[in-house]
Symmetry: C2
Subunit: 563 residues, 2 copies
Amino acid sequence: MPTALEIARQATLKPIAEIAEDIGIPPWLIEQHGEHVAKIDLKAIEELKDQPKAKYVVVTAITPTPLGEGKTTTTIGLGQAFSHIGRRATIAIRQASMGPTFGIKGGAAGGGYSQAVPFELLNLHLTGDMHAVTAAHNQISAMVDNSLYLGNEFGLDLNQITWKRVLDVNDRALRNIVIGLGAAGDGVPRQAGFDITAASEVMAVLALSKDLKDLRARLGRIVVGYTKQGEPVTAEQLKAAGAAAVIMREALKPNLLQTLENTPVFVHAGPFGNIAHGNSSVVADLIGIHTGEFLVTEAGFGADMGAERFFNIKCRVSGLKPDAAVVVATVRALKSHSGKYKVVAGRPLPEDMLKENPDDVALGAENLRKQLENIRAHGVEPVVAINGMPSDFASERRVIHELAASMGIKSAVGTHFTDGGRGATEIAEAVAEVASKPNNFHFLYPSEATLRQKIEAIASKVYGADGVDYAPLAAKQLDGYEKNGFGNLPVCIAKTQYSLSHDANLKGAPTGFRLPIREARASVGAGFVYLICGDMRTMPGLASKPAAISIDLDDDGNIVGLY
Amino acid sequence: MPTALEIARQATLKPIAEIAEDIGIPPWLIEQHGEHVAKIDLKAIEELKDQPKAKYVVVTAITPTPLGEGKTTTTIGLGQAFSHIGRRATIAIRQASMGPTFGIKGGAAGGGYSQAVPFELLNLHLTGDMHAVTAAHNQISAMVDNSLYLGNEFGLDLNQITWKRVLDVNDRALRNIVIGLGAAGDGVPRQAGFDITAASEVMAVLALSKDLKDLRARLGRIVVGYTKQGEPVTAEQLKAAGAAAVIMREALKPNLLQTLENTPVFVHAGPFGNIAHGNSSVVADLIGIHTGEFLVTEAGFGADMGAERFFNIKCRVSGLKPDAAVVVATVRALKSHSGKYKVVAGRPLPEDMLKENPDDVALGAENLRKQLENIRAHGVEPVVAINGMPSDFASERRVIHELAASMGIKSAVGTHFTDGGRGATEIAEAVAEVASKPNNFHFLYPSEATLRQKIEAIASKVYGADGVDYAPLAAKQLDGYEKNGFGNLPVCIAKTQYSLSHDANLKGAPTGFRLPIREARASVGAGFVYLICGDMRTMPGLASKPAAISIDLDDDGNIVGLY
């Protein structure tokens, strides 16, 4: 099979203005960036509001292996599939981070014959939104250190400055640094560090803002650190929020692209899936919801993570109600959830895993069952999408179908990776049927609950934990947040994506564990409190053979080595 | 008078595709970024080569005061003026850096009624070229530290790593830092630092590359540091150059915009004017030279700096020959060159300077005389453009006209700041006449000369120094460079822009001084060796009241506070 880039280059793309026009976005609301990318004016939210409202479908997954289970590919394949059954869909996904493209994984937005294109733009700068986040974030950082340099007007405690700097590059050497060295004119020495841009709170603000005014207000609410007395100091106090908003002004316009089959796809924002909510932007969905019969949007990692935050953080902001959820499952991941195999990124699957073994699938399918329950816990009905692979056996897939059927849930196999949209028509039919029925969507917890009640609701109802243990630091921080008025925010639990629990080694649907909260952080601008269980890496490193070393231009100036 | 931003917003802009078409650039060579900005495909260099060749005019200046003497404004005013005398011109300028926009000065590309627009785009991300430079530079940096982390295959000496990191923000706290702290997995601890993006060698590479292949090759030649034995280690050896070229691929396409009067203006690249050559891109000029009767391009700072490098670095690369030079002079700056006044950025002029005083102008005009000689030293004929200000007296301007006339040089007053192009028609007439005559353009030194011969040629013939003193470190470095094969590169002397000498306090046309070279650095990728005289700040700080604190969005989402 050809590489993703080769397939992407063979695609026949339509002018993006035509794609926009097809979904009711008139030329005066689009701003072209080349022939195949357009930024959409936020006025489209208002202008399109009388167009029919699409069914809102979130694509999530079982707990993934480090190889990934093809969630973006399925999102795109499903979006493409609707046109094969005579329906019209729009897709919304996150923008890929450039750091990892050169770091480990290479590029991609989907895969095989289910991709968003143009490939080269998607995997590099696109329209510069990531760069705008970097610039806005670091402008605030410079204002923080300038404030220290000028006498620390707001009394920031040097040991409680929570606002770091960011770059969209995998650079482990920037994780822990000391800045402000040199002469007196070179600032105040202190410990600091860089995160990757996707981990910036500005990125989460971009993803969660409803309009420019909301973005400006959220940027002002960003807490950059605390005084020795525990009082928060905000970007507004530093007078840094206006400039940051000006830097982010164009970035808030969602980017419209297309798939290999010319299905419209919004690509906008890319917040981290652990310390942030891992969903594409609210504004893209507010526009996209009036552009077709279905809006297919993706949530990061498994249903316990991205989908839970989709329901409780993103939908709480947007006011949109999901009509159906798709839970992507693979035979190989469910086998690995039997707990008998070790799957490592970048290595071939263990030989034993390739043998026909429906019993292992059945063991591991407990993970699928729990993730399906997690969707239903929000009053939404799921569909199981089996992302079919050549190594699957019919008996193994049958186990999945049977489990779903036993729960009264529809399931279908998709071959969209190799076949494009026509490989996912059964999934699309199932989704269309489920989405046509009314549901009882509700949040897992009310905004008025305490932070601890919210954490405990997620831990017990979604993760299957027996309870929550708070480290003294976390307890103190949570008390402080309640006192500072952040208690009404939703919570985002940063834990491993490789288990329903906090321990990546616990496969399937673990029980009998307590969730340990080591630390809490308040993303007040973005609008959530996040809790750290274990080590959360917010600045990746380069691999020993980084993807970058094979990426180059050929003699004709074409990009090579980017897969 | 309204602010720059207010004037810019009142302008009637043409669709950029129309501007392009007017100068012979067909639609298939432009890539729109919104309605008023386009990137131009580099194929235009080849496609346009049969169009008539424009006269190539470089705009430079006397030694400026910290207030600036309106060189960009004059460049744009002159470009606009040609249409008022029935001729057609294209303009080429550098892109402004975002750091200083929020740091001290606010935004601008020209001023008053001689501006490039759209203002908001120009002063922020434009098409993201600056961000691409940041990303490409830091990708190489991450590869350097990854190489150390993986065992330092190339034997880089931790004390001789010359490749820093960059950000387009004024952030003094990043000047001197220690990176790689933390656990074993967090890299190798070492001293490091950030420069502002404009100071990146990648920026100079962008400005000096003739095409994509040349860019790729130059990126490969970048020296990131040296071994203990003094052997250079390159980006090519690190396998970092291919990825950097891929990141820079779109950025190499010049950006076409327009002035307030719809004159086409290329805005592309913004290398520093001290540690780099301070000129806009070669590719923009290679396209622009076939788009009208005149191509008006700007060189940074005074004629001893930007213009000297324009002649000896940029034209050596591009193969283009200048047909005329414009030396911008102001009455106030020449008064300050009398040595009797102190002009400070951000403060009003000393009262005494506002009184009629042709004698002071005559004293200071020695600076103008020397800068005019500096142009003629390259076989090019200058025109004096007096950037007229309301505080000028006729007697004072007369001194300038008389000096020019005594040298057989044309001079004219421009009021383009208040009047736009029609205020600079006399300058345009003079330029047109001078440019119509053949000249004897030549480099100041041959490529084959030694680095020391090149330095000494500039010091004696351009700066007026009696000789050059090399600090032991600089001498050792120059010896090393000659040994490493960098001796054939042109040189770029990083000194103060506020004096013809290395000492900002020496006004007028100082003599009787020796030029002290403290240190040498090799920008082998960009293709020059630069020499440091005194303190060169490559990362600015924020002011005590940074421009950022007044920059914000109003209730309608418009940018306010950016002047």
